[in-house]
């Protein structure tokens, strides 16, 4: 049982601490994520959720502790290597390539799965052409998957806000990750859009067989789709369990309502 679980474990965050000056933004956090799970990561503002994301994706390096992806140590690697290994993410403050078209954004997401280099580009090798064509087809499929099928030629910056969030998801999926990190995917969306997003996230897991870790403030979303929820407060993990358990957890309630009680 244990060994089976060990094999299933896709991400292991082991005693990770990250300091900024005197502040411990993330304080000896342990977190395991298993294949095909949807895990919610919640906590008040400034709890260290995004910092934990940045540690997983290599944008920050842990001060102490280590990270394993499919039992391989990934701390110390640069973000682009980690993406190559199979972790993709979206950003809380949307970071699309605004001047580029929607399709190009998705193609960029595919960067690590394509091989065309300088020489093949300059020499117009047929292999390059073929690869590029396949990539475009796949990108279009992904765009229709997230519901942006008719927008491929538009500039990313001209999309509506909710659409930009969806494009970020499509772009992340294009990297063919095994683990997908979503940073507040529903932020700023209206209830209708949020509903659709929840469906989309479930489909990503069910149809594409991805594992998902998401940060979200909207409790409806988190509790609705997560199988497991981890709670951070002041950099520490204060709870980890099924949504129902978390909603009852006293320290979680205290963290959210503050010490003022």
């Amino acid at each position: 049982m244990l060994s089976a679980k060990g094999n299933d474990r896709i991400l292991q965050v082991k005693e990770v601490t990250r300091r900024f000056g005197g502040l411990k933004a993330v304080d000896s956090v342990c977190l395991d994520i298993y294949k095909k799970e949807i895990v919610g990561l919640i906590g008040p503002n400034g709890a260290g959720k995004t910092t934990l994301f940045n540690l997983i994706t290599g944008h920050y390096q842990p001060t102490t502790g280590s990270l394993y992806f499919k039992n391989e140590k990934i701390d110390g690697l640069r973000p682009f290597t980690i993406t190559e290994k199979g972790i993709a993410r979206t950003f809380q403050n949307i970071r699309l390539f605004g001047m580029m078209s929607v399709l190009e954004n998705v193609l960029l997401g595919m960067h690590v799965r394509l091989h065309g280099g300088l020489a093949s580009a300059v020499l117009c090798l047929p292999r390059e052409k073929q690869e590029e064509q396949n990539a475009r087809e796949k990108a279009r499929e992904l765009l229709s998957f997230v519901g942006l099928g008719n927008k491929e030629k538009e500039k990313a910056r001209n999309l509506a806000y909710g659409e930009q969030r969806l494009l970020e998801v499509a772009r992340a999926l294009a990297a063919e990750p095994e683990l997908l990190l979503l940073d507040e995917p529903a932020a700023g969306m209206n209830p209708q859009e949020t509903m659709e997003l929840m469906k989309l996230i479930s489909r990503i897991r069910d149809e594409m067989e991805k594992t998902i870790l998401l940060i979200e403030h909207d409790m409806k979303v988190v509790m609705g789709i997560s199988e497991r929820v981890a709670v951070l407060d002041y950099g520490k993990k204060i709870a980890d369990g099924r949504p129902g358990e978390i909603q009852q957890n006293e320290s979680v309630i205290r963290a959210y309502l503050g010490d003022s009680m």
Binding site: F20, T50, N54, H59, Y60
Partner: protein
């Protein structure tokens, strides 16, 4: 000889520092490399020279008037060439600054001609000599004025209301304007003060090297800019340190490496410093926000 060369470097460096301050103040507020700063320095030197030589104005009065004049030139340049581009890309403003620099240089050439003008030293020549160091009265005065101006500027920025507003605007222009700071006024004052400091450097270089020419701003302008970057552009103590360091580095390179490679060595030091401190000596370490 080492101490002598060190002092040579510090004097040269103090002039670079004054020029660098003009760059760094403007950069700190509007993130613009004010390429025309070298020309404003030249205008200041001309103003000082003309007042002293042709109108017999006492030196210190001429010095102040030259600073005021260059301040006004700086304001005009800002108004005509930079303000319309404030909301545009930074490179557009940079090209506009280059255009302004070429314009001012050739304006001076047309008005004053190409032949160098003599700027006589207003002080009675006197040289102080010890066994290891020779320094002239003129050099001591230049050092004193440079450091005095740098301290005055530090006081102005740190303690006065306008200085505080300048720092606030440098931090975040939008917030500063929400707090009721007149950002346009602050930018104008920054150009005024920065240009005046440039003019002070120009006048001092004029009397130190005895000449004023329309082209005199080109190399010192570049060096001042390099000094500002070396110290961490946008940081006032950085500009002072960067200027001194550049001056000393240049002199030491000429003295101990090869005078043929004087400037090359100075630039090599710059690149080396940036390699280890990518935002300059006193530049704040920027943690990328993700």
């Amino acid at each position: 000889m080492f101490i002598q060369q060190l002092v040579n470097g510090i004097i040269l460096g103090s002039i670079y520092s004054l020029i660098a301050l003009g760059y760094t103040m403007v950069y700190g507020i509007i993130m613009l490399i004010n390429f025309a700063h070298g020309e404003i320095y030249m205008f200041g030197a001309f103003a000082g020279m003309i007042l002293v030589v042709f109108y017999n104005v006492p030196f210190f009065l001429a010095f102040l008037l030259a600073m005021a004049f260059a301040g006004l030139v700086g304001l005009t340049v800002e108004y005509l060439a930079y303000r319309p581009l404030r909301r545009s890309s930074r490179l557009a403003a940079l090209i506009s600054a280059i255009g302004a620099s070429i314009f001012l240089q050739n304006l001076a050439l047309l008005i004053m001609g190409a032949r160098p003008y003599t700027f006589p030293s207003p002080f009675i020549p006197k040289v102080y000599q010890t066994s290891f160091l020779t320094i002239s009265k003129l050099e001591l005065i230049i050092l004193a004025i440079s450091f005095l101006l740098m301290f005055a500027l530090t006081f102005f920025i740190q303690k006065t209301k306008i200085g505080k507003a300048m720092r606030a605007a440098a931090q975040d222009m939008d917030t500063a304007s929400l707090m009721g700071i007149n950002v346009n006024l602050i930018i104008s004052i920054t150009f005024l003060v920065g240009s005046a400091l440039g003019a002070a450097a120009g006048v001092m270089v004029g009397i130190y090297f005895r000449t004023v020419t329309p082209m005199m701003g080109l190399m010192p302008g570049l060096k001042g800019f390099v000094a500002a970057v070396l110290g961490g552009i946008g940081r006032i103590p950085g500009a002072m340190l960067g200027g001194l360091l550049l001056g000393v580095a240049e002199v030491m390179a000429a003295a101990y490496i090869s005078s043929q490679y004087r400037d090359a060595a100075a630039f090599a030091i710059l690149i080396l410093v940036l390699f280890f401190k990518p935002t300059g000596l006193m530049g704040s370490f920027m943690q990328e926000k993700v």
